[in-house]
Structures are given as C-alpha cells and as structure tokens.
C-alpha cells in the first residue's frame, strides 16, 4: 500500500516504521489527497485519533498526527504532516466525522487551525482563554490570569 502511494506521490511521502508500527510522514500539500485516498481506497474507515506534537526547535514546528485504523485489514497506521507555526491545514471532518472534536482539541491545545472545519473553536478550555497549553513554550503553571480574574473573580487558579 505504502509502495503504491510512494509511486503515485513520489517524494512527498516518507514511509517509516518504529517498533513494528508503520507511519508515514506526508508533505502538508498532499495531506487532503492522501487522507481521502486512505479512507476511500485503502479502507482506513476509522479515524482513531488526531493530535499534534510541538517541536519548538525545528523549523516546521508542529507534527500533526492522524492515527488511522482499518476494520477490514485490522491494521493501524499513522500519518504525519509537518507544518510551520501559524500554518493551517485542511480539516478532515468531511472524511471522518470523528475528526470534529479531535481537531477542535488540537486547535485548543496547540493553536493549529483547520480550514473548513464546521465549528473551529475551543473545546476543553473556555472561550476567550489566551494561549495554547500543550505548546512547549507554555509553562506548566502558566494560566490566563486575566481570564481567571474576570470570570472566576479570584486572583489565581492555583
């Protein structure tokens, strides 16, 4: 399968394996196409998870990771795309409805915007919160003091 993708898309795909788990790093521009193909042609019909990893030292700061599973093949695969800070990526909600909240959570935690997402807003943190906690530059004790003072009427949440 990966070989087929490789031949179709060429250098945009880099298939990798670690500890017996397959994943591939895909160029950002190829992501919509690849994900569509994964679902329609390769029967990866279950989007297990969408998440991101922040590498502040890298030029392309974020890895966006799709964990996919195919019921018919009983196979799991991860698709990764590296993007710059502030760059957005096309939403996969039209492909997997499950992506809705998962993408919202990625936005909430990392500030990565998904284009054409039906309802791109925070999910776990309250609306109006400043900062995205899972970025590496967000301290573990850091909080939006202003928001806490205005909305909770206390000096600090800690």
């Amino acid at each position: 399968m990966i070989a087929k993708f490789k031949s179709t898309y060429g250098s945009g795909i880099e298939p990798l394996t670690y500890a017996g788990q397959n994943y591939m790093v895909v160029d950002r521009s190829l992501i919509p196409e690849i994900l569509q193909a994964m679902r329609n042609e390769e029967q990866f019909d279950y989007c297990v998870d969408i998440t991101a990893v922040h590498y502040p030292k890298r030029e392309k700061q974020f890895d966006v990771v799709w964990v996919l599973y195919s019921f018919s093949r009983n196979e799991r695969i991860r698709v990764k795309a590296q993007i710059f800070d502030g760059e957005s990526i096309l939403s996969s909600v039209p492909i997997w409805a499950a992506a809705n909240w998962l993408e919202r959570e990625v936005f909430d935690m990392f500030g990565i915007k998904f284009d054409e997402h039906p309802d791109m807003k925070r999910i776990l943190l309250p609306e109006g919160w400043k900062g995205h906690p899972l970025r590496k530059d967000y301290g573990i004790l850091q909080q939006d003091n202003e928001w806490v003072q205005i909305n909770l009427g206390i000096e600090s949440g800690q």
């Binding site: 019921f71 409805a97 943190l125 899972l134």
Partner: protein
C-alpha cells in the same frame, strides 16, 4: 431517524431541525450541575416541547491538563496520574499506559504479571460495567439496581484494597510488571468472588431485561448504525451493540488475551437496549476470562528487568487497549530523556460523546438522559 445506508453527508450536526408549526424553540441548559449528566457535563438542548431538535455539549469543566503534566513527569511518576482519568476503570488506564511505555522500552512483563494484570483489568471491567448499570438504571428511574451493583462492586474494590491498598485509583501496575506479588489467598478470593458474582448478573437481568418499562424505555432509543459508529469513531460496547464484532482484545491482542477463550458479544439494532444487553454479556465474558486466568496463573517473577531510571530510546508509539468504555489509546513520543516528550491519550469517552447529538436528534428529553447513560462516559476522561 437515521438511515443506516447513508453516507457521511447526512451527519449534519450543526444545523438543528426546525420546530413544528410556530411553537417557540425552548433552550434548556442541562448541567453542569445535573443529577443525570454523570459529572460536570453541560448539554445545551434545543427543544420543541419535549422533542430534541439538536444539542451541544460543553465540556472541559474537569480539565486538569493530564497531557501537559505527563510532559513534566518521568515515566514512572506519570503512572498514577493516568488513574485519575477514567477513575471508575483506573486499572485499565494503568494497563494501557504501562504497556505503551514497555513497548517504548522494548521490555515485556513476565507471564505471572501478565496474568494478574488480566485478572485485575477484567475485574475492573466488571466494576465499571456495574457502576454503569446502576447509574444508567437510576437515570431511567429504577433506583434499586444501583444498590445491588454497588453492593457487588464493593467486593471487587475489597480485592483491590487488599492487593494494593487503594480502592478506586489503584495504581496497580508498574512499568515492566507489578510492584507487588499477590497477597495470600488472592486466587481463592477471586474465585469466591466469581462464584458469588455469577448469580448476581442473573439478578440484575431479572430486574431489568424483561421489565416492560425498561424495554420500552430503552428499545429504539438512541439508535446509531454501525456505519455512523465507525464514522464518528465510536468504539467499545456501543460499537458492538451496532453489530460490529470488534474488540481490541481479539483484533489486536495485548497483554496475554490471546491465551484466553472468550466471545465478543454483539447485537444488531444499536439501540440503548442492545447496548445494555452487550454490556451484560460482556460481564459474563469477563467472568469467563478471570476464571481461566486464575486457573492458569503461573508461578514466577512479577517484574521484568527495567532500569531504575527509565530512558526509552527516541521514538514514538501508539498503543491502545480495550477499556470498558472503548478504545483507550496512548501515543507517547520519547526524545530519549527521562520524561516523555509528548503523551497523548485517546479517550474513548471523549470520542463517544461526539455521537450524543446524532443519537438524541428527534428523541425526547427523557431519552437524552438514557443516551448519556448508555454512552457510559466518565467526565474525568472526557476532559482529562
């Protein structure tokens, strides 16, 4: 309401239906303090009379930043934190986390530890399903099953307490095996529990399975087709009740589940009653697994050789287990240091909760309660 052959396009979850005639649309805010939302879930209901036109979940009231904490603790130190996510199935959380880190470290727990893990994890599944049954029945108005299930859950918690000193957030497993050897009489007590518990499942079923009101309240309520389940990523008993025979214990066996003989109970209709039946059948299967595990419990060490200071080689692992509520996944990225670079938890409750809107459309307020109950969500896990 849902055509099972429909494609994704019908999952238009943003625009609510129109109210009938010119009646006013009633917006009700259910929760975050509400007796039936199982925690601090807030559901904004748009109603036409009592008919649900659409709903929106507001979550995050219990957000504690577990994933962020994980990045600032060592692998061992983070282990107790995962128990606080799905606190009614803490052992399963620990199992998933320990196995993921073991994969990163390229170690494997010794057989005895594996067996004990299966016993405790399946006991945990029983406890979780019992809690679900009690509260779900309470939501639908049957108050008695709650006390029956809690009486029996107590026995499981006693075994935990004797084993590791804790009852709810057990922290029972360690990376590489178990901290403690089982106590004297562990096997006997588990066996006693099984023989005590098997008739109790019949007792629950006697109260509910053929109860007319129970059947009327749950049949054809909150139907979700297999197709929609898969599209929305819904897993666990909800998926199996829709007819998909998929259980990670069979599909991608972890621990040593492949050594045990058990069935995957499924149903076809995908309604609340089927989910109830599936979970009841799962309890019986769990009893079967525990029975085999206790019978075949091997002697030997319970801890593999793991370094005192864990520094897994750089790499990344996604590993998931079949938690009582569905697929519980851990995605851990290691950069070779003592702390994980990134811990991502794929919580089953969070993903399953997405289906609430779809399942409640066109139903009545009372059904929303039933559906929230049947999804078996734990807000600690939804919000993390």
């Amino acid at each position: 309401m849902t055509d099972s052959n429909s494609s994704l396009s019908h999952l238009d979850l943003e625009t609510p239906e129109k109210p009938f005639l010119d009646a006013n649309e009633l917006v009700i805010n259910m929760g975050p303090q509400h007796p039936a939302t199982h925690g601090v879930l807030r559901v904004i209901l748009r109603l036409d009379g009592e008919k649900v036109l659409g709903l929106e979940c507001v979550i995050g009231y219990l957000h504690r930043g577990v994933e962020k904490i994980g990045e600032h603790r060592t692998y061992t130190m983070f282990n107790p934190y995962v128990d606080r996510m799905d606190y009614v199935a803490a052992v399963s959380n620990g199992l998933g986390y320990c196995e993921t880190v073991e994969k990163l470290l390229h170690v494997e727990a010794p057989p005895r530890a594996q067996y004990v893990r299966v016993i405790l994890a399946e006991l945990n599944r029983l406890a979780s399903h019992q809690l679900w049954l009690g509260t779900h029945a309470l939501d639908i108005g049957a108050i008695t099953p709650l006390f029956y299930t809690f009486r029996d859950r107590e026995e499981i918690l006693k075994i935990y307490e004797k084993y590791c000193g804790a009852r709810l957030t057990t922290h029972a497993f360690r990376i590489g095996g178990l901290q403690y050897e089982t106590y004297n009489g562990f096997e006997r007590e588990v066996k006693n529990f099984l023989s005590f518990f098997r008739p109790k499942i019949d007792e629950y079923e006697e109260l509910l399975t053929t109860n007319r009101i129970w059947v009327e309240r749950t049949k054809n309520v909150g139907i979700i087709s297999a197709k929609d389940c898969i599209a929305l990523g819904v897993t666990g008993p909800v998926l199996r009740a829709s007819g998909v025979k998929w259980d990670l214990r069979k599909a991608q066996p972890y621990a040593n589940y492949k050594n045990f003989d058990f069935d995957i109970p499924t149903c076809q209709n995908g309604d609340t009653y089927d989910r109830y039946l599936v979970r009841m059948a799962e309890m019986r299967q769990s009893v079967r697994i525990i029975e085999q595990a206790v019978e075949g419990l091997p002697e030997g060490p319970v801890m593999a050789k793991v370094p005192k200071v864990m520094k897994p080689p750089a790499g990344e692992i996604y590993h998931s287990i079949e938690a009582p509520k569905g697929e519980l996944g851990y995605f851990i990225v290691s950069d070779g240091s003592t702390q994980p670079y990134r811990v991502r938890v794929r919580p089953p409750s969070f993903v399953n909760l997405q289906a609430l809107d779809l399942m409640c459309r066109g139903q009545l307020v009372a059904d929303v309660i039933a559906v929230i109950g049947t999804l078996d969500i734990v807000l600690g896990e939804v919000d993390r």
